[in-house]
């Protein structure tokens, strides 16, 4: 058994290395092609993509399973983008993001089930409560740097999970809270996947817009400066602690929204959905796509949310493959599939990889 698993994982590592290398080439080509398009053509492309997004649920009408996967992808895109604000823009490594996801989900569950509140009010309160927790956590721990911060956020994630399990009558322990009602607006009830699709992807679009506007604002430039060099940024008059806490709060609040949507979509919350591995999955999405790059993170979230569905036959190996993938990404392509630098355009990438000499000497790149 030991050697069989070892052999399988070795093969998986080799395959992953080649896949990562190949995908990097592919994404380099595509990114180069898109960034070198004229402004007008790019707008057509964006418009076409928008129409495709609107028509998507009708295209998949015959396949509810596919649509459901697309919805989950949407929720993960919101989560990954919100984590990207913290990791990608501000450069603060947070591996406890599932905690805010859980806080959002439980806020909605408690308010709608236990207090019978309207979903929309609970939705907004989830945003506020998750943001508040982000703020309260951010104030003390954002003084930490790099890996210390990462461990502290892991600790926070575990504390939240323990609090949910030990929450007694309020959180109902490991059993969770069932029976969260579907939201409704003006008598229209969100009870089929198509209406959920539009709702979730509206939130995705809003998150993308928030991310872009933040990135291109004075605030975003300050954050990038902090990420590149905190001390130098401070010397230039950027206030690191203020900006870091702000973006941490915003990221937490957006994760709270994703939690709220997820809870009311599946009508159920329990602590098992918000474990450390969930935080790792979100981290992987950001790293795979390209830390800080918005299109990259969206692609990363889509790949890693769809991948488990395709890996059903090797379900047991899923997280082992994630671990391998993280190591291989760091060695072969640390900047992610669509990196921030490649988005700014540049030299035309080549298909060097297809030459065999390069393959045999991977250490050269």
């Amino acid at each position: 058994m030991f050697f069989k698993v070892l052999l399988n994982l070795t093969i998986a590592a080799l395959v992953l290395y080649i896949v990562v290398k190949f995908l990097s080439m592919l994404f380099d080509q595509v990114t180069f092609w898109v960034t070198s398009l004229e402004e007008k053509k790019r707008r057509y492309l964006l418009g076409g993509f928008g129409i495709f997004l609107i028509a998507l649920p009708w295209l998949t009408a015959g396949n509810p399973y596919l649509l459901r996967t697309i919805l989950i992808v949407g929720i993960y895109i919101i989560l990954a983008l919100s984590l990207n604000l913290i990791i990608g823009f501000a450069g603060q490594l947070s591996i406890g993001h599932a905690a805010f996801y859980a806080i959002g989900a439980y806020t909605t569950a408690l308010l709608t089930v236990s207090l019978g509140l309207n979903f929309w009010l609970a939705f907004i309160l989830s945003f506020v409560v998750a943001g508040l927790f982000g703020f309260l956590l951010g104030v003390p721990i954002l003084r930490l740097k790099g890996d210390y911060l990462a461990i502290a956020t892991i600790g926070f994630g575990e504390i939240v999970r323990l609090a949910l399990i030990n929450g007694g009558d309020i959180t109902r322990g490991p059993a969770g809270i069932p029976g969260i009602p579907s939201p409704s607006i003006f008598g229209f009830v969100f009870n089929d996947n198509i209406s959920w699709y539009y709702f979730i992807y509206l939130m995705v679009v809003i998150t993308v817009i928030i991310s872009y506007n933040l990135l291109n604002s004075r605030l975003g430039r300050g954050l990038i400066a902090i990420r590149d060099d905190e001390i130098a940024a401070e010397a230039m008059g950027v206030k690191p602690s203020y900006l870091k806490i702000l973006v941490f709060t915003l990221g937490a609040a957006l994760a709270g929204i994703a939690g709220s949507i997820f809870a009311s979509y599946i009508h159920y919350v329990n602590p098992d959905s918000y474990t450390y591995l969930e935080s790792v999955t979100m981290l992987m999405m950001v790293v795979l796509g390209g830390i800080g790059s918005i299109p990259g993170v969206i692609v990363g979230a889509a790949i890693l949310a769809i991948l488990p569905e395709m890996l059903r036959t090797v379900e047991l190996y899923r997280f082992a493959i994630y671990g391998l993938l993280l190591i291989i990404m760091m060695i072969a392509r640390p900047e992610g599939m669509i990196s921030m630098t490649s988005l700014r355009g540049g030299k035309k990438p080549s298909w060097q990889f297809l030459k065999l000499g390069k393959l045999l000497k991977p250490s050269e790149d």
């Binding site: 790099g146 926070f156 790293v287 190996y317 899923r318 190591i327 760091m330 250490s363």
Partner: protein, 290 residues
Amino acid sequence: MFGEQLVNGLALGSIYALTAIGFTMVYGIIRLINFAHGDIFMIGAFFALSSVTLFNAPLIVAFLVGMAGASIVGILLSRLAYKPLFDAPRINLFLAAIGAAILFENFAMLVWGPQTNTFPVLIDMHNYSILGLKFTTLQVIILVCTIIFMILLHLLVNKTKVGIAMRCTAQDMNTARLMGINTDRMVYVTFAIGSSLGAAAGILVGMYYQAVYPMMGFMTGLKAFVAAVLGGIGSIPGAMLGGLVLGISESLGAAYISSGFRDGIAFIILILILLIKPSGILGKVTQEKV
């Protein structure tokens, strides 16, 4: 009640101390929080368990198998996953370490199954009374083992040539290389020692709770990290002290405050220590330059 918890805390604390040494040594030499260390601890326990269940090995042999196996895993890990990243930004190295941790946990789940395996009882249990405190045989074994390992480590680091080379490498890798020290080999030696001590701790935990399971390294790893930070990361005596302080405060906290939040106590200590004295009890203060 207090005495029992104190003894419990001492035993637990020695285990944290043994694990924390691996963290602190690796941090000292390549400035990496080796997140996979907790999982090497678990792998070591599983190796020992397998040698007992498959080959009926006696306790000493099981210890040796676990420690040797874990040090091989540690060397392979540093060679295959960390070595290519030594010159990369530290955050990449840390992410690779997280990847390795996930890989090990799931590797163990695939090989040995996700269930909790019972560690067979290999020794006769007695109760001893020392200075009015009641110890079980296992607790005595844990304390004695820890003390022996600590003395051996102290001798190795301070009295041998390898130890001197290791301390040189930790102080300044480039200068050490100029002085003719094979720094890569020193990194592997550090990983091997840290991993084998971690494995020893893992086997002791397995015997203490009579349970070995794939996720056992996750929490203990995090707590050992807390212990290392508490004592001052990079300092070996600090890791020992930090482990003992953490173990005792955790036992007492679980007994007098709430046992449900037992695992939370370590993180509260971590956040407090990082806010009050980030360099730890015995750590050195370093200045950061642009």
